[in-house]
Symmetry: C2
Subunit: 300 residues, 2 copies
């Protein structure tokens, strides 16, 4: 039987901050991470080892890792390639994340490689990771739909997932990069994955573009998934995917899961404080869709 515990990975400090207009300095980024950690968020995506020219919002991620306390949260960083992985190793990053789009077109537009070429590069990174005893997880992006190709065949997601697990990925995050999945599709694909692979290695990443973020989270829970990405205050999107906007808000996901009787280990009043930090720092975060209700309910 699936567990009552759910693990939340807050991607706000990376996926969120990378996709909003204001570039924050390292102290501001640190303050958001510390607010999340204070609320008991168990995993936090801290930054990305990408070109500071291409993505100014993620500049100085190595320095940011050096500023982090030895806290209770598990910190991770996105790496686009071997170069990024080497930088992450130097910065002693405990967990790094590769991204492979299930859609060939999306992968080519994003990093100028086919999906298979990208899997091959990931194999090299995972092979080096093994020798260094480093944890590397992999995102399967545009897992349900791609803005260029439309609907993605589940078999393609199974195939990429299998290759990445065989190559040694410590986790696989199935991502609805453009927020196009509906809950029937989520239950179907995640059910298919859970029947093929260990559910403990799987996680979901949803956007709330079509207001289906919570419905999709519930569908994944029904399929047996117990790990989710979410973004504090609903920060985020994807600058390379037309139509992508707004990761599902951590506040909304945690509220729903806790009300369903799941244990996220997160303190909701402190999470609302972290949400206010995100809103104050960016000026663009929404705070999620249930925040006004949550503030009345949990702060009394």
């Amino acid at each position: 039987m699936a567990s009552n515990k759910v693990t939340i990975n807050d991607v706000g400090p990376r996926d969120g901050l990378q996709n909003q207009p204001k570039v924050l300095n390292l102290e501001q980024r640190l303050s958001l991470i510390l607010a999340l950690e204070a609320a008991g968020v168990p995993e936090i995506e801290v930054g990305a080892f990408v070109s500071p020219k291409a993505v100014p919002a993620m500049a100085g991620t190595a320095d940011l890792f050096a500023m982090l306390p030895k806290g209770s949260a598990r910190y991770s960083a996105l790496i686009p390639n071997m170069k990024g992985f080497e930088l992450a190793l130097e910065a002693n990053v405990p967990l790094t994340s590769l991204v492979i789009a299930a859609s060939n077109t999306m992968n080519e537009k994003n990093i100028r490689m086919t999906t298979q070429q990208s899997v091959n590069v990931s194999r090299d990174v995972l092979s080096l990771a093994k020798s260094k005893r480093a944890n590397v997880q992999a995102y399967v992006a545009t897992a349900w739909a791609c803005p260029f190709e439309g609907k993605i065949a589940p078999d393609e997601v199974y195939r990429v997932t299998e290759q990445l697990i065989e190559a040694g990925a410590s986790g696989i995050v199935i991502a609805d990069t453009i927020g196009a999945a509906n809950p029937a599709q989520v239950q179907s694909l995640m059910g298919g994955l859970v029947s093929r692979f260990d559910s403990d290695i799987l996680s979901c990443h949803f956007h709330d573009t079509r207001a289906m973020g919570l419905a999709n989270t519930y569908a994944a829970i029904e399929a047996g998934i117990r790990k989710f990405d979410a973004s504090i205050a609903g920060l985020g999107g994807c600058p390379f995917a037309p139509g992508a906007s707004g990761n599902v808000a951590t506040e909304d996901v945690v509220m729903m899961l806790e009300q369903m009787g799941f244990d996220t280990g997160i303190n909701i009043p402190l999470l609302l404080k972290a949400s206010n930090v995100a809103i104050a720092l960016t000026g663009t975060a929404t705070g999620g869709k249930a925040k006004s209700w949550m503030e009345k309910y949990y702060n009394n």
Copy 2:
């Protein structure tokens, strides 16, 4: 196997307009109903036969029924008691709706009767309806939770539902009056009801107070429910239930269901026009949670 067709009952002209500050005149109320009908919404709650002093927004409902075209939509009205039913009969209303709260305290606060007394009054109405060959459906309100009593025992909902079906109700609407249900509870209660009664007679009414309206709709779909209340532009709430606000928006529900491959028979671009009518008339309607995306996607 459950059907691919889903029936939407738009309660905006009644549940919606009754619970927002501005009182509309009959022409304005008619314009909203006609916009919904033009979009192909198959069922519309037109008004209520209640005291115009207590509920000014619903004054003149008999006159409004006289103004309605012989259209394709099925029109209904809320009736609080026998007096309301008699007025509805005089106005040739094709379908009326009784409301019985599963919570005793809520029922007493709302209409000064216990739940059982309210079921007994409903029996009298349903008995007269039988002799007049009139269709009367019944709402089981606060079916999951009540602001005064907290969680409601499913057995209480089964008991009230059974009594109302035996008394001749043409349909039973299970209502999360204060928007407190989570999808696990929805799937559990609706699953229990579907195993006891004909699913065709059952319907769900959700509020989006905690942003779980779509997740709850999906959970009910999973349980086999194929009929839903929703309110155009997210208009609504319940003035007698503290903390209740915002019915789930018809736009959001129709979008999710259509994307899941269900057939609602509703034209989405025309539904967005009806949404704009609701927003223009009231000044308070939100338009639902996916509207900006829907306008880009469906109006191109």
